[in-house]
Symmetry: D2
Subunit: 398 residues, 4 copies
């Protein structure tokens, strides 16, 4: 029986691994310990911890660590607080391995806590590429991690390129696609979004189509967050379609994005823009698979939408370097460009499914790997090519 | 005028960059800000901060972060506290770049604080290889860093292999060798160690030769620290030579090492073993260049001693994967093996100088690079080989 | 020249000591160091730090410490972070005395940091009484403080009763009344609130009168915060007057209060309720002196309003135990009671001025005391009555 | 069944409440949760946590919080870290009341964590008086606490004088005296100190008598700690008796005291001075009841020694303001005065027992009170005398 501790720090991370958590909970050789941390505990971001409990998971510990204020120094302090708390939590839970997901800034705390405490670290979704600090965080976690469960062949190639031992870099596909596969089997919009999620702004009729927007601030461009949100608001307004708009993750810059949304609401509160904080992942996927177009910079546009064939307008640099299916149109932060691309995508309609991010069984594969893989903290280093003429004598451990 | 903030966290880090700090202080285009943190502030480790001030440097901030106790969870909490403090320090100092040195666990805080605050991060001595958690820390810092000033060609090769932009990976040589070069020009033992440093244990006559021991706990083997220190004590005692022994760095396991030393002192306090906490770097180099043999696992045995030609017995895994000159004999933690190797090295005497870690001008080169190199936080990623048939369209920023 | 460090942690604290800060800044024997901390730095609470700078004060340090989430455990963690930061700030500023104001939870960090670092601690506004945790905090700070500058004779009596040396308990009056005195000399509403402060909600005509509401959550009743805010909203709506409503301080429970206000806004956004985050203190006093009634549980209703003669409806337990002028009507959290009391107060109109909280020169007196009073950390303890037959021999220091 | 959480932060605190902990563990209506924190976890101070476990108690949580270095700023940071950790620990344990003991600096964290989290706070040993920062800490905790279990009638009088509700101030006697009463029933020295505790320094024959020294640094005089320890060493050496000397608690100044002891040991290591870190409380009491004199500034000299009749030389201000039995001679930090007083006390021999600190049943009384007393966080405030002509209308809660 292996104690596997999975640390969930944000709404999208949970969505991304939910099927893996279910498979772990049900696996006879795994004792699952879920730690919920950071923005996953906050009202402002929909308290995903409540969703997790409602989904039938037990929460082994909560780690509050988010300091108020959008300034970048706060992300540093929040990681610091997360470390202090995780030291106690991991000392108490004594897991056999710690799992951290993706690349949000606060996840570096998970990786440091585990590796410094000599606990084998498993990283889900390494080897991706994005256009912000997430990139540095993700690759740094790769170098701290002992096992890598990646989401695509390109990701595997990239992790191995960084000198990781190929035996510990395993392409499981992305568990977020598992949910998409489930939704795709019966894709009707089987709920009323206004009723189930309230939100703010006017209700509207969905029968004439609608678009969905999900745009996060980009950490290295956080001073532009307000302006970038304003541009997207202008472009989307010009489409003349009803809109479901989602608030951003907590992050350096999220105050800027939120401010733009609030200003819009106050000035143009009668337009058919409805704002949600949060939605159950399956409901969100149903919402976008029935939409005319998904607009913004969320990874959902790249991954789940590839499988679902949803037309996507991907804005700016946040998803740079990720493999795309044919369903994605990339544009810059420009009112006209966004509007034109969205118009074309709406006209095109749904695309055929792409399996570049998995076939819908990633969750089960992740649980199996976690039950099977050798758990060690002694990593071999593959940086120096075998036989390189560098005057280096072979030694144990190298 | 660039504000360059260098964070010094430990005695050996300072020794390693002292000539670079002098060159920065004297450089007309650099405004040097020295932050002293972690064990560099503690009595137990010789308060290097006092040495730094005595050497004529101004200290811009002190960051106390070391929690008491040798358990691994404490290193996690100490990084947490370091982050909270550094967020404030860097907000106040507003540097144009932050420099972190080498790979001790607490330096990950420097790297996170700088990169999360969108400050260009310069890493000195990336691309090395050692046999412990330092390895993970060092490579993780490489992935967070924007500029890499490495100490050897092998190190440069390794950093580039991890996907770093070759234009920002510069082999300056190791500044620790600068001091060695200076000492080598006039290598006499021009001071009385007992008088200048007091220490504890009996004094003895140096004219018949002596050995020097410097052995640190290995983080991933911290439970063995006590036993490893005991083995070395037994082996060195058997040589029948007077001994200068240095206390270890603060680290997971240092309590074990220190305990073994204290027990030895209490039981065999009349033997010619003299214990020092600390020594000025130039004095330490003079001490070893005049010794019969340097024993332990310090990087000084690998780097400075290569230039100086000091016979070295390197014990255990801590220096695994580092290039060696001909002066190094590697042995395991074994009383007989250590004793035999030391006997051979004492018989051999000094070796010719090797330049694998630099020619003695690294400090000046580092200052020049810091004044010259483009400072940016937008790193290009070289992980995907150009032209790779991976179905990935070239995009800006990739 | 004495370095006096004043730590401001919240909007109302600044309002309360502004004239004292001005008098310190202008005093030839005082070198004023202002540290801004906690909610005084947050957008959500109007970033008072910006007001402080705009008022011409230099800010010596900023201390971010508020963790997100309304749960009581967060206030504990926030004090913890405040302490870690203040240790560094006070080490750097090296003040001759530290001044902390009133009784908000986070101010205990100021008191601990100063007293543990052997810095004389001055407490402004000890000896008050309120109905929540503030009471415990305030009296605990009294026992940590060396000098007490209190706001009324009753307050002085209470501090001395706790065993403090009467020579160090000085009634200066409350500096918040200084501003009230200034406003009272020329009480016209000389600005347009909608224009100067924007806020949210409809604009309205002021000529027919209006009421002002300022209601904070009560820490020991934080689960009731939502319901208490809802009751006040119902009662005030029933008055049929236009309303200026202010958002609450950050505190355990503030999420509940804020939620009630947001729900009201969304459902009844067309009523003449205008919401402000914050206002310059003098503007706020002008606003209330021209209002028909001030409703809620703010200390402004007790202090400044006593001098100004504003009719006040004070709701609930938050101001329990504070002296009142004749202008205050106390009511419970009850829709009818609030409505009835407000109707009577509106009918009554302004009251004559009361000087129970000072005559308008408290700021100058505080500065003079800080320049004059002996600064020592060796407190005499007056708990054992002189001559008490307790078998205790008189000893030095007792 | 009440969950009572007792937080133990140091060796002497545990000694002081051990019989109370036993009585709580055995009480049918109490579910005891022991949290061990701060120096009670450190090797340097004898890891009392191991003793606690060996005594058969379960430890519900460990809170590491001590930062390295003797500077006063570290005590502030350590309280900060303690708060962050305690917030999580108390959230998890959900006690019905929290018990904190005495007045060491780090215990303010216990009091803040409990009171801010709306948990009833019980303070053991309020109302004492000492000559340092402990005084401020203790009285501040009194004002945060809801229930006070004090050790003497004078202490009760003092707590009530500070405005606490007399119904919640209960004189249970001091549980440290329970152990003394047990030892007094059969006071022979039934173990060999050298054999059981090792320690450092020469062994000696006990049959000719010996003295015991226990001297802590005084926080407000921490710069004098080194000199004060040196004076005591000189005075005790002059007595010509063998000496058992105990290392001090971790505290601001303990580095100074420790340095003086280490210097003495290195220079005069052959004298009959034997140094111990720590001893089981009952063994320590046996050691002193069989000694010729107890010298220093420990509270053991005041309390347990009163019951046991041990002749005591109490040095300096640390125990100022505590009631004394006839067995105590007070002296200043002066070599001659200490020597002279010790000579007189040695000549006098044992004193008759005094019950000022209890009759030996305090532990049982404390457990009974904790099972019985009303647990509330709504404290009545007795600062304003009933019927005082202060124009204050009686209100609920006042």
């Amino acid at each position: 029986m292996r104690r596997i501790c999975v640390i969930v720090t944000a709404r999208p991370s949970y969505a991304r691994v939910k099927t893996a958590l279910e498979a772990m909970r049900d696996h006879p050789a795994i004792d699952l310990q879920i730690v919920v941390a950071a923005s996953a505990l906050l009202d402002r971001y929909g308290r995903v911890v409540d969703v997790i409990r409602k989904d039938g998971f037990e929460v082994a510990a909560e780690v509050y660590s988010v300091l108020e204020g959008g300034a970048v120094a706060q992300s540093v302090r929040s990681v610091g607080i997360g470390l202090i708390e995780l030291a106690s939590v991991l000392s108490r839970l004594e897991p056999d391995a710690v799992v951290t997901i993706a690349d949000r800034y606060e996840t570096i705390a998970n990786a440091i806590a585990a590796s410094f405490m000599n606990l084998p670290l498993v990283h889900i979704q390494g080897g991706e590429f994005t256009g912000s600090i997430d990139n540095k965080v993700r690759h740094a976690i790769t170098k701290l991690a002992d096992v890598h469960l990646v989401a695509s062949e390109l990701a595997r190639h990239r992790v191995v390129s960084m000198g990781e031992d190929p035996r510990y870099v395993i392409n499981t596909g992305c568990p977020s696609v598992d949910l998409a596969a489930e939704v795709a089997r019966d894709p009707g919009l089987d709920f009323d979004p206004f009723e189930r999620y309230t939100g703010t702004g006017p209700s509207f009729d969905l029968s004439g189509g609608y678009v969905v927007v999900l745009q996060h601030p980009v950490t290295t461009e956080h001073d532009d967050a307000f302006e970038q949100a304003r541009i997207s608001l202008d472009a989307v307004r010009a489409l003349g379609k009803p809109v479901f708009w989602f608030w951003p993750n907590v992050d350096a810059g999220s105050d800027g994005t939120s401010k733009a949304l609030r200003m819009f609401r106050e000035r143009e509160g009668d337009r058919p823009f409805h704002f949600f904080k949060n939605m159950l992942p399956q409901d969100f996927l149903r919402l976008i698979v029935n939409s005319d177009c998904l607009i913004g910079n969320s990874s959902v546009g790249i991954r789940e939408s590839a499988f679902l064939g949803v037309p996507v307008v991907n804005i700016g640099t946040r998803q740079n370097g990720r493999e795309r299916g044919p369903n994605v149109a990339d544009v810059a932060h420009d009112v006209d460009a966004i509007r034109a691309a969205a118009t074309r995508q709406i006209a095109h309609g749904r695309y055929p499914a792409s399996h570049i991010y998995g076939d819908g069984r990633a969750g089960v594969r992740i649980a199996e790997e976690l039950a099977r893989v050798e758990l060690t903290i002694e990593k071999r280093d593959f940086l120096v090519p075998a036989g390189a003429a560098l005057g280096l004598v072979e030694r144990e451990g190298l």
